[in-house]
């Protein structure tokens, strides 16, 4: 048992910190702190900076630009990135499609798509969920019918995160209508510019736009865009769900949120009194701090174990459930800490007017509402519990 970071790891942390200081645009960091909507350009600039440093795709094979970070290094990177208020790296190309191509793609597909992910040519989004297929993905209805050297795709995808920026979407489509629902699914890459692809934004509970509906009407997709074999999409989908769940606990985000809330609570108000001296508040914050301190270790323990065993499946469900509980508890307490000051609708109207509450504070209520999504997406916490009951407890 040894919880200390090695000298190399300490040096690595300093390197990451220096990189963030040098390369993360301060305006972008401020936007992240104020929970403003990032432009496509903001996210691309960070993506490009990371790629320039060779840190964009650390988990990829070395031949494709990976750097072989250990689980601990990834954890350090995530922690420092969150502390510096770096944008969340859009995972769909780097962390989701790429592992699928490494495992199931053809050499041509790898050579074509992977460099374009790195250099930012292609922005990917995910076409999994449908109006009738959320947790029960096998119920999906989007049809792909073979027509010569192409598939004709018809259907509707939803909850497509940042689809408004995307050039490509990887989709689960039904290629065989009969038989077991899981058996007739295929994994298809679709160019968003193809005629028949239509993206419609969905406005979310707090007022922001980050997810979309994607309508596919007679979309002609070259058969060479099929990944793996026809009807093996379910295998690929399951592989993807169990893969690359690094940072699923979001510990770095929780640490940043905790530190920010503590700093706020320690700031004297006009009366000279501090929120942190309120016993009930301090007890709530201490409780979260304790859960978070434990979570840091749980995260490291489980990612190190996953790395050793090469099977991160069950661990990632524990990390997701507990990590999300802590993040949501912090969102809740941050909102409550502000009291009525969290009430203003965060809009441009607040900017530049010193009489109004600062945007960074006003954003807390919106973030609280937005982050209720975390216990729903990526397999709801209830689905994670089903998985654990079966896989870990044998129930």
């Amino acid at each position: 048992m040894d919880l200390s970071f090695s000298l190399a790891e300490v040096a690595f942390r300093a390197e990451v910190r220096a990189f963030m200081a040098d390369s993360l645009c301060p305006k972008t960091a401020a936007k992240v702190r104020e929970r403003r909507t990032l432009t496509k350009h903001d996210m691309e600039a960070y993506h490009t900076a990371l790629n320039g440093r060779g840190w964009l795709a650390p988990s990829w094979p070395a031949a494709y630009g990976g750097v072989g970070w250990t689980a601990v290094q990834k954890h350090i990177f995530d922690e420092e990135a969150a502390r510096a208020a770096a944008p969340r790296l859009v995972p769909f190309g780097i962390a989701m499609l790429a592992p699928v191509l490494f495992r199931f793609g053809t050499q041509d597909q790898r050579d074509h798509y992977l460099p374009r992910i790195l250099d930012g040519t292609d922005w990917w989004c995910q076409g999994y969920s449908e109006p009738g297929a959320g947790s029960d993905l096998a119920g999906l209805n989007t049809r792909a019918v073979r027509d010569g050297d192409a598939y004709i795709v018809n259907g509707q995808k939803t909850w497509t995160t940042l689809g408004q920026h995307a050039d490509w979407i990887f989709c689960l489509v039904r290629t065989k209508p009969d038989g077991k629902p899981q058996e007739g699914i295929s994994f298809l890459l679709v160019d968003m510019q193809t005629p028949g692809v239509e993206v419609r934004p969905i406005r979310l509970i707090e007022g922001g736009y980050e997810v979309n509906e994607v309508f596919l009407t007679d979309v002609r997709v070259p058969a060479s865009n099929l990944v793996g074999e026809e009807n093996m999409g379910w295998t690929i989908a399951k592989y993807l769900l169990n893969h690359e769940r690094n940072n699923i606990a979001g510990v770095g985000f929780s640490i940043a949120a905790f530190e920010s809330l503590l700093a706020y609570a320690r700031t004297p108000r006009r009366s000279g009194r501090r929120l942190i001296d309120d016993t009930l508040f301090a007890a709530r914050l201490a409780r979260i701090e304790i859960d978070l301190e434990a979570m840091k270790i749980t995260n490291l323990r489980l990612v190190v174990a996953g790395e050793t065993s090469g099977a991160p499946g069950v661990e990632s469900s524990i990390l997701k459930i507990k990590g999300v509980e802590i993040r949501q508890a912090l969102n809740d307490l941050s909102r409550r800490a502000l009291g009525p000051a969290a009430a203003p609708f965060p809009s441009e109207d607040l900017d530049g007017n010193a009489a109004l509450v600062p945007r960074e504070q006003a954003a807390n209520a919106g973030e609280y509402f937005n982050n209720r999504k975390m216990s729903i997406y990526g397999g709801s916490n209830e689905i994670q519990k089903n998985i654990l009951a079966k896989a870990m407890l044998g129930l």
């Binding site: 701090e289 859960d291 490291l300 009951a389 407890l393 129930l395």
Partner: protein, 352 residues
């Protein structure tokens, strides 16, 4: 960063668990745990032979352990077997004697049983200690002194002028009234009336705090061991018990609750590891408080859920799980409960 047990600790765990499985099975344990002197000389000597007491003490004092992970390794195993032997006071005495520079020989060999008397009738807070030293004697009353029933020597924290000092008394010189605890094992009320006492350490506040930290860590680890067994027992029961023609574990309501317990137990395992690693550092006391708080919070939830999901069977004395849940709940009141320890964590947040 390495979360593997060392080979030494793995061997210690294995041999201790083997010994306890053999010499502290449920039936034997329940006899010892509820009948004075709440102690099995046979098991005690086997623990001594295995080197358990040496592993609790600093090498500089003749031991071969005493670090955070030595403590958690031993107490997790003791918790798995619900061992009622007074190992906790032995650990605390080892810390205190070490701080006092006193001889640990009789403690390490297991020849002498020690108890540590901190708490008093209505408070166990160091600030409210009323037992007083005068002219080489002590007068006062110490309450719920763990292991007091069997101890030949009792280390007593007493007011000595403005300060707290550490004294040693022979229990034969005091009035000691032993009793069983609801979760097994023995404690005692200790009445001191001009009882002759040997001063071991003046200004003992820091030393006592260290012993309390070690105790809180040990209790958290013991609780973790008991939680692990309770979880396994519960999951087995959910698979075996059939109602409405199927195992009750096929009900999602119970599955999710069982999973939540597992997730929380893993959080306790993490904080026990963290607190063990912080022993001997500046953040020892605060991290131990985090640990004891979380262990206490989760232990009660595990206990109450285990009873509920076992149904009536967990309400019986005969079912081993009933003894585990008692221990899990009552550990919280030993050396600071969840509320006490969260207040100490709050103080760190409130510091300027």
């Amino acid at each position: 960063m390495n979360f593997e047990q060392t080979d030494d600790h793995r061997m210690l765990t294995d041999s201790l668990l083997r010994l306890l499985t053999d010499a502290c099975d449920a039936k034997t344990r329940n006899v010892t745990a509820y009948a004075a002197p709440f102690h099995s000389p046979d098991l005690w000597s086997k623990l001594a032979d295995l080197g358990v007491f040496y592993a609790l003490a600093d090498p500089a004092q003749g031991g071969f352990g005493g670090a955070g992970f030595d403590i958690t390794t031993i107490f997790q195993a003791l918790g798995k077997a619900l061992c009622p032997e007074p190992v906790l006071p032995t650990l605390m005495a080892a810390r205190l004697l070490t701080h006092a520079g006193a001889d640990l020989g009789p403690l390490l060999s297991g020849a002498v049983h020690y108890a540590v008397a901190v708490g008093e009738l209505d408070s166990w807070s160091l600030d409210e200690i009323e037992t007083t030293a005068r002219n080489g004697t002590l007068t006062g009353r110490k309450s719920v002194v763990y292991g007091g029933a069997v101890a030949e020597k009792i280390l007593v924290i007493a007011r000595d002028g403005a300060e707290l000092s550490l004294f040693e008394i022979a229990s034969a010189d005091a009035e000691v009234i032993p009793y069983a605890m609801i979760d097994g094992g023995g404690a005692a009320e200790v009445f001191l009336d001009a009882t002759p006492a040997r001063l071991l350490l003046e200004n003992a506040g820091a030393a006592v705090q260290d012993a309390l930290d070690a105790a809180a860590l040990a209790l958290s680890a013991e609780s973790l061991g008991a939680m692990d067994v309770t979880r396994d027992t519960l999951v087995d029961y959910l698979k075996q018990r059939r109602q409405f023609g199927r195992p009750i574990g096929s009900n999602q309501a119970l599955q999710h609750r069982a999973v939540e317990l597992v997730t929380e137990i893993e959080q306790v395992r993490s904080i026990v590891i963290l607190a063990a690693s912080r022993m001997g550092t500046d953040s020892q006391t605060r991290t131990v408080s985090m640990c004891k708080h979380l262990a206490g919070r989760v232990a009660r939830r595990v206990a109450e859920e285990a009873i509920q999901m076992h149904g009536g069977i967990a309400m019986t004395w005969e079912a081993p799980v009933s003894h585990y849940v008692k221990r899990l709940v009552m550990i919280d009141s030993q050396f600071g409960d969840t509320d006490y320890h969260i207040k100490r964590v709050m103080e760190g947040l409130q510091a300027t």
